[in-house]
């Protein structure tokens, strides 16, 4: 592995796993997800243009790996109508709300989840999000709309959103 890529991976590993966790909803699965994506990045490394800051390329690989993984295991995936856990009692309301929102996010289909993560974590525009996902801007808009609507319902059902 190229030394620059190895340094990047070592420096960003926890952050990338966190990113993967938001996308796939499971911290353990996220490690495998991110590692798989990094294998692909390493294989394609000669063609990565921004070797000094490959974050964009790596995140794109993680997003696509997650969507791909989900397609493989979709038959095993079970959507839960109700959020499975209650927030622990000793956390502040805001922290608990955020935790609840992230768990609601994890119940969305992966492409919708990816749209929200790219838009609201990476602060990408609709055009940039479409470019990452390889779809049209219209698809991003519709997926984002559906995702937020579903998130709002899940949140309201959980008694938080008014």
């Amino acid at each position: 592995m190229d030394a620059r890529l190895a340094d990047y991976v070592r420096g960003q590993w926890p952050s990338l796993v966190r990113y993967g966790t938001l996308l796939c909803g499971d911290a353990v699965e996220a490690e495998e997800l991110v590692q798989s994506a990094l294998v692909r990045v390493a294989l394609r490394w000669p063609f990565v243009r921004d070797k000094d800051d490959p974050s964009g390329y790596v995140k794109r690989a993680i997003v696509h790996a997650n969507i791909s993984n989900w397609r493989r295991i979709r038959s095993r995936e079970v959507s839960s109508e109700a959020l499975p856990e209650q927030p622990i009692a000793d956390r502040s309301d805001e922290v608990a709300d955020h935790d609840r929102l992230r768990r609601a996010l994890a119940t969305l289909p992966p492409r919708q989840r990816a749209v929200l993560v790219l838009r609201y974590l990476d602060d990408l525009s609709e055009e940039q999000t479409a470019d990452v996902l390889g779809c049209s801007v219209g698809t991003v808009k519709s997926q984002s709309h559906k995702a937020l609507a579903k998130l709002r319902v899940l949140y309201a059902e959980d008694g938080v959103m008014q």
């Binding site: 991976v9 991110v34 063609f47 969507i67 955020h98």
Partner: protein, 399 residues
């Protein structure tokens, strides 16, 4: 921005970072990358070695065939033309390698003429993945190929481009082109990863979903301008390779399985126990039915069809090497090139022909610390070595 959007933004940005189970993922990633590159290297070695193997000569479409399409052949700049005559390399016992090209994906020998390479033309105006002959004159024109495309395999009159993509959708593609770059036919499949290839004559053998219980081997053949596919299941197959005589074998973790081919299909036939990896086709004059294999400690010249007679009969030359042998390529003069990827002294080793029969073969030249993704014979002499970073160097240590 709505309250929900703002709250979502805050929630995402405030996601706590928990310590991953693995503190340093780099070694694991390197192992996986190496495994993938090894598979690619073996398949390319097999492709390179079947130059003389002709089982079923095929005729392919010509410009008069309505199915033939000429792909975009607009001349484009090379990805990274060679800026210097020679890279710095630590070589003992031989000349320095000569830098040929930078930015290649895969390189494969051709039955005639210069090797083929597949590369991403990331800097060209039209971009895309292309194939081209590795001619001495650079820059050169490339032929844009359909994606996904990960490796090129050259038959006698058909050039195959094989690729899998599991980043957004699990899809694979195999395209057949003439040696002039005209697309003859292409076929795609879903939910299948293509992980190894071999070519006999113009027939392409592809391992689908290798290392799994659902592994299958496809024989792809151009017939009347279309690709006809015959399939046989070989559960657990890890590799497929062809001998110089054109016998095709699948390798599992415990055995080698011969793939029998007829005009109507393919099937499994002889199965012999063998736990080593096929790391290259033996094209030496005495090894036309065999492979170079790695048994975990030695490189063994093996004729699988003789294993039923006895291991001592089936095994030819054996070499103790200082690490894990990953790729073996027979030199035209009978010597052997080995890529050693692990151990105390990784690199590319050249063993002259007169050393192979010796009790303790000694390398004639060593290119220290070289990591090869592919090695193929260069018609001008020596071999073309593609590094993990896509750098092609020509190395000719043979006297």
């Amino acid at each position: 921005m709505s309250d929900l959007e703002q709250m979502l933004r805050d929630a995402l940005h405030e996601t706590p970072t928990s310590a991953p189970r693995s503190a340093d993922p780099v070694p694991a990633i390197q192992r996986r990358v190496r495994r993938l590159r090894l598979a690619a290297g073996v398949s390319l070695g097999a492709a390179a070695a079947v130059v003389a193997a002709v089982v079923v000569p095929m005729s392919v479409g010509t410009s008069g065939n309505a199915r033939v399409q000429i792909l975009n052949t607009t001349p484009t700049p090379t990805p990274t033309p060679s800026p210097t005559p020679s890279p710095s390399a630590n070589v003992t016992g031989g000349p320095q390698p000569q830098l040929v090209w930078m930015g290649a994906d895969w390189v494969a020998s051709a039955p005639s003429g210069m090797p083929w390479m597949l590369y991403d033309d990331g800097s060209g105006p039209d971009g895309g993945t292309r194939i081209a002959r590795l001619t001495p004159a650079l820059p050169q024109d490339g032929v844009k190929v359909l994606l996904p495309a990960g490796r090129v395999v050259a038959g006698k009159t058909v050039v195959w481009v094989v690729g899998s993509n599991d980043s957004s959708t699990i899809s694979s593609r195999v395209s057949a082109l003439t040696t002039r770059g005209a697309l003859i036919a292409t076929t795609t499949s879903r939910d299948a990863l293509l992980t190894a290839t071999a070519v006999v004559g113009d027939d392409l053998y592809v391992l689908r979903n290798g290392n799994s219980a659902s592994a299958e081997i496809d024989r792809m053949r151009v017939v009347g301008g279309t690709i006809q596919t015959a399939t046989v299941a070989v559960p657990g197959a890890e590799n497929v390779a062809a001998t110089a005589h054109g016998d095709v074998w699948a390798q599992t973790s415990t055995k080698l399985v011969r793939i029998a081919s007829t005009n109507t299909g393919i099937s499994t036939s002889t199965s012999v126990e063998w736990t080593g990896d096929i790391i290259g086709t033996d094209t030496s004059s005495g090894g036309q039915d065999g492979f170079w294999t790695w048994d975990g400690s030695r490189v063994v010249q093996l004729t699988p069809s003789l294993l039923t007679t006895g291991a001592s009969v089936a095994q030819g030359d054996r070499l103790l090497v200082p690490g894990h042998a990953a790729i073996a390529v027979t030199a035209p003069g009978g010597g052997l090139y080995l890529s050693i990827v692990e151990g105390d002294a990784p690199g590319i080793y050249y063993y002259p022909a007169d050393q192979l029969g010796a009790g303790q073969p000694q390398p004639g030249a060593i290119w220290h610390d070289a990591t090869a993704a592919t090695i193929c014979v260069d018609p001008r002499g020596g071999v073309d070595v593609t590094s993990a970073d896509g750098i092609i160097s020509r190395w000719d240590p043979a006297p």
